[in-house]
């Protein structure tokens, strides 16, 4: 009996740090409408800062807690810099850009932390005076857990006071409910935004710091907590602090009890809980229905047109070049171009979902990796021939997309995005943890194509045919009635529903199709490398795809290809540096701030003045400015 009680208390203890971090995320989103992806990094920084401050000033009972507060303040300062330098310029930009920019911050923080604190996991300092254990009906439990249990409700109460009893807090609440109105009241909005962002960052930092004695500090904390925070926010209801608290407790309890009952299944349990809650209450435990019209993507007010003569010529030239490439370059570059082709197909499948469907997925790598693993598992366990595995992999990925999509399309906008990320993280964890089957972190090796296709030259042509074929198929679908119907749901859900379009079904089918195409890319990948590791399903891989789409430009259909090439080039250039993440992060942030239309978008914007990049509309004359090319 007492075992259960201690387990219960231990669950409550781990809920506190999670709650602090998630409430910060929720508050920032409520006011600024930015989903701060770097929030997990702030949490991690809180732990690292806490570690240093406790060592420097943390002598004695008071000193320890003072050091933790200092850590929170330091993270608040980091948040201040991020807000002033990056986000402030992006509040009016499409959400995708804010998310990519904060992803850039994740990379920067990772390398700065690596540089400052080293790669070793740091063991957390113990809290003076709270180092012992208490016995609860005979079962031992760390005293510090009791302090953690108190911390959650204490912060909850403090936040309640702040938002109900102070002028600033009431303003923040008003801004969450009606932003236009607060702006109309003459409140200095940018000051409010900055303040809220700093507060949210401090909460994340505090969360990271208080869990130090329990969990220490390491460089993997950022993505781990990010997915959990998203689950908490989605389950608790976006914008509801009490909801975040309840969800954090629920999830932590599920984890601690899950370990007792079904040690290998905690992730599956979390998945089931999230699924059940979302089916019963799509807005989360205490969330309100989201206001209509809040989309995760900027409005596409320009018309999509089939390719024009010059554009077709350009594509033909590129294809011709790819066909004769083996004559021009050596094996090394051929392999590089295979990488680009694979990534281009992957990015195009995501681009389809984002631009035509308006569905920004943050977990698209689940299907890329899913396809890769489907192929690898089929080869490893069923001795499936290469050709068949290549065919079945997209089906496997499509099936995974059907399961995940069935839940995700119930939500829209950023909620959809967060849920895709959370599910992708679950998929990654399963592959990572289920080592009996997937070989865990060691990956599956020796997955090679049949003899006829194993030479670089033949495989190059195979990859070319499949990737280009896949991209053309996607393009065809965009201009097919299905693609039009999907775009209709993106443009106006009201009108789409009022002309008989089943919005969720249209979106789900699009999700499955995009997942299958990503799976095809993943299968090509695994046969080109001969192996697959859980990394291919991870959050950073999902972000790679988003980055490629962004590099190429969201509004341009050839963007993903350009983006994949630019990404591969960037990656290869940067990887030679020790701190390549830092450089990549800085590049991302700079690109977002300087080139909001992406590379292909910018190129077409300028070239479009001189060349016919899109088909002339039939009938009446249309001014050039009104339509943008596909």
């Amino acid at each position: 009996m007492s075992v259960y009680l201690v387990q219960f208390l231990s669950g409550l203890a781990s809920a506190s740090a999670l709650f602090l971090a998630a409430s910060g995320l929720s508050i920032i989103f409520g006011v600024t409408r930015v989903v701060n992806f770097a929030h997990g990094s702030f949490y991690m920084l809180g732990a690292f800062f806490g570690y240093t401050f406790v060592r420097e000033v943390g002598g004695g009972g008071i000193g320890f807690w003072f050091a933790l507060l200092l850590a929170a303040l330091a993270v608040g300062l980091v948040g201040l810099v991020v807000e002033l330098v990056i986000l402030r310029r992006l509040y009016k930009a499409p959400e995708l850009f804010q998310l990519i920019a904060t992803f850039g911050v994740i990379l920067i923080v990772q390398d700065v932390a690596l540089w400052a604190w080293g790669a070793e996991d740091l063991l957390g300092p113990r809290a003076p005076g709270l180092t012992g254990i208490v016995r609860i009906f005979g079962t031992p439990m760390p005293v510090y857990d009791l302090a953690l249990i108190a911390a959650g409700p204490l912060v909850l109460a403090a936040l309640w006071l702040l938002f109900n009893r102070t002028r600033w807090g009431i303003l923040v609440r008003a801004a969450t409910e009606d932003r236009e109105m607060v702006a109309a009241l003459g409140v200095n909005q940018s000051l409010l935004f900055t303040g809220v962002f700093v507060l949210g960052s401090m909460l994340a930092g505090l969360g990271g710091a208080i869990q130090l004695p329990k969990g220490g500090a390491d460089l993997l904390m950022d993505f781990g907590i990010l997915a959990e925070m998203f689950v908490v926010v989605v389950v608790g209801g976006m914008g509801s602090i009490l909801g975040a608290f309840l969800a954090a407790v629920l999830i932590s309890l599920l984890n601690t009890f899950g370990i007792l009952v079904w040690p290998d299944g905690t992730l599956v349990l979390m998945f089931i809980l999230m699924a059940v809650i979302l089916v019963v209450r799509p807005t989360g435990l205490l969330g309100r229905p989201e206001t209509a019209g809040h989309k995760a993507e900027a409005g596409f007010e320009t018309a999509l047109r089939p390719a024009g003569p010059h554009y077709k010529l350009f594509i033909a030239a590129v294809l011709a070049l790819l066909l004769v490439l083996p004559v021009l370059v050596g094996e090394f570059y051929l392999i590089l171009v295979i990488d680009i082709l694979v990534l281009a197909l992957f990015a195009t499948s995501l681009h389809f979902l984002m631009s035509t469907g308006g569905l920004v997925s943050f977990g698209h790598a689940a299907f890329y990796g899913g396809g890769a693993y489907a192929a690898a598992l089929l080869v490893t366990y069923a001795a499936t021939p290469f050709e068949l595995a290549l065919l079945l992999a997209p089906l496997g990925a499509g099936l995974l997309a059907l399961v995940i999509g069935w839940f995700c399309v119930r939500l829209s906008g950023v909620y959809f995005a967060m849920l895709t990320l959370a599910f992708a993280q679950v998929a990654w964890s399963i592959v990572f943890q289920w080592s009996d089957v997937t070989n865990g972190d060691d990956g599956l090796l020796g997955i090679w194509p049949s003899a006829w296709a194993s030479g670089t030259l033949v495989f190059y042509f195979l990859a070319l045919v499949i990737a280009v074929g896949g991209i053309f198929l996607i393009r065809r679908v965009i201009f097919a009635p299905f693609g039009y119907g999907l775009r209709a749901t993106r443009d106006s859900t009201l009108r789409a529903a009022a002309i008989g379009i089943d919005i969720k079904r249209q979106q789900l089918v699009a999700f499955v199709f995009a997942g299958a195409m990503a799976g095809l890319a993943g299968a090509l990948f695994v046969f080109s490398k001969g192996s697959v590791f859980p990394d291919e399903m991870s959050i950073p891989r999902s972000f790679d795809a988003l980055l490629m789409v962004l590099l190429g430009g969201v509004e341009s259909l050839s963007g993903p290809f350009v983006g994949a090439a630019a990404f591969t080039y960037l990656h290869d250039e940067l990887i030679t540096f020790e701190y390549w993440r830092l450089l990549l992060g800085l590049t991302i942030v700079a690109l977002v701030l300087l080139f909001p239309q992406g590379l292909a978008g910018a190129a077409k914007h300028y070239l479009g003045r001189y060349l016919k990049l899109e088909a002339e509309p039939t009938g009446a004359a249309v001014t050039k400015r009104e339509v943008r090319e596909a």
Partner: protein, 265 residues
């Protein structure tokens, strides 16, 4: 029930609305509303801002679910059905704030309806470019928009968007048309022209129409019959003459500080 008892329309009704209610939180937006929409009738639903007109429309086309009540379309219950389902059964609508697809051309907006009607939206390999163009242009001709068929909807003027919406709503040959403020946000001359056009079209096609409108000239000029909503309740029903002289209606509008229809009276 409201004071003005609802007289059932003698002709077989296209739409029979009974005891419809809807509350948003504490606000009772619509309370126990009943009326019939006769076949081929142009019925105006009027009332001050916030009276619950749009909420009624949204319940009729399934966009929001009524708390209670029933809506029967030729014997079929509509409450509980999805907007898509209700549309397939022949109830089309336009929105107070136009809802079109800005990234598609005017002709494509109309073609969308035709594709949806023909269950083509899960076709992956056919092309949608130019699809149903002839039929789309015919529909656009009805509303005088063929000249702008190839402009993206995103750049049209508001009045033109209203015309496109009308063509879109007529696309699947509905039997009932719901028009929420068909002329809102337009210049006076354009309003008269557009409402004249809409009225002519629906009469030619024999549609039953329920519309709301704040411009009383338009209401009195075109409606066969008028029902008046105030704070969610029906307070009057009758011809233009009857409504114009109904003291309760006058009081409602005067009480709300809005004095439409005064220049006639």
């Amino acid at each position: 029930m409201s004071e003005a008892a609802v007289k059932p329309n003698p002709a077989a009704p296209s739409l029979a609305v009974r005891h419809l209610s809807k509350a948003f939180g504490g606000v009772q937006a619509v309370r126990d509303v009943s009326f019939d929409l006769g076949k081929g009738e142009l019925l105006a639903l009027i009332g001050p801002n916030g009276a619950g007109k749009s909420t009624c429309f949204n319940m009729l086309n399934g966009q929001i679910r009524a708390d209670s009540g029933s809506v029967s379309l030729a014997g079929t219950e509509l409450i509980g059905r999805s907007p898509a389902d209700i549309w397939r059964r022949g109830v089309g609508r336009t929105f107070q704030i136009t809802a079109t697809f800005p990234s598609m051309t005017v002709a494509e907006n109309v073609a969308m309806v035709l594709m949806s009607q023909r269950h083509e939206l899960f076709s992956f390999l056919k092309t949608a470019v130019q699809r149903h163009r002839k039929k789309a242009l015919e529909l656009l001709d009805l509303v005088g928009m063929t000249g702008q068929a190839d402009r993206p909807c995103g750049v049209l003027s508001y009045g033109d968007l209203k015309r496109v919406e009308l063509a879109v709503a007529l696309g699947n040959e509905p039997s009932v048309l719901l028009m929420d403020e068909p002329t809102a946000g337009m210049a006076p001359r354009e309003r008269i022209e557009l409402m004249g056009l809409a009225a002519r079209l629906v009469r030619d096609l024999g549609l039953s129409v329920l519309f709301t409108e704040h411009d009383m000239d338009i209401v009195f000029g075109h409606a066969d019959r008028i029902i008046v909503l105030s704070r969610g309740e029906l307070i009057a029903e009758g011809t233009a003459e009857q409504i114009r002289s109904n003291p309760l209606v006058l009081k409602t509008y005067l009480g709300e500080g809005q004095i439409y229809g005064r220049k006639e009276g």
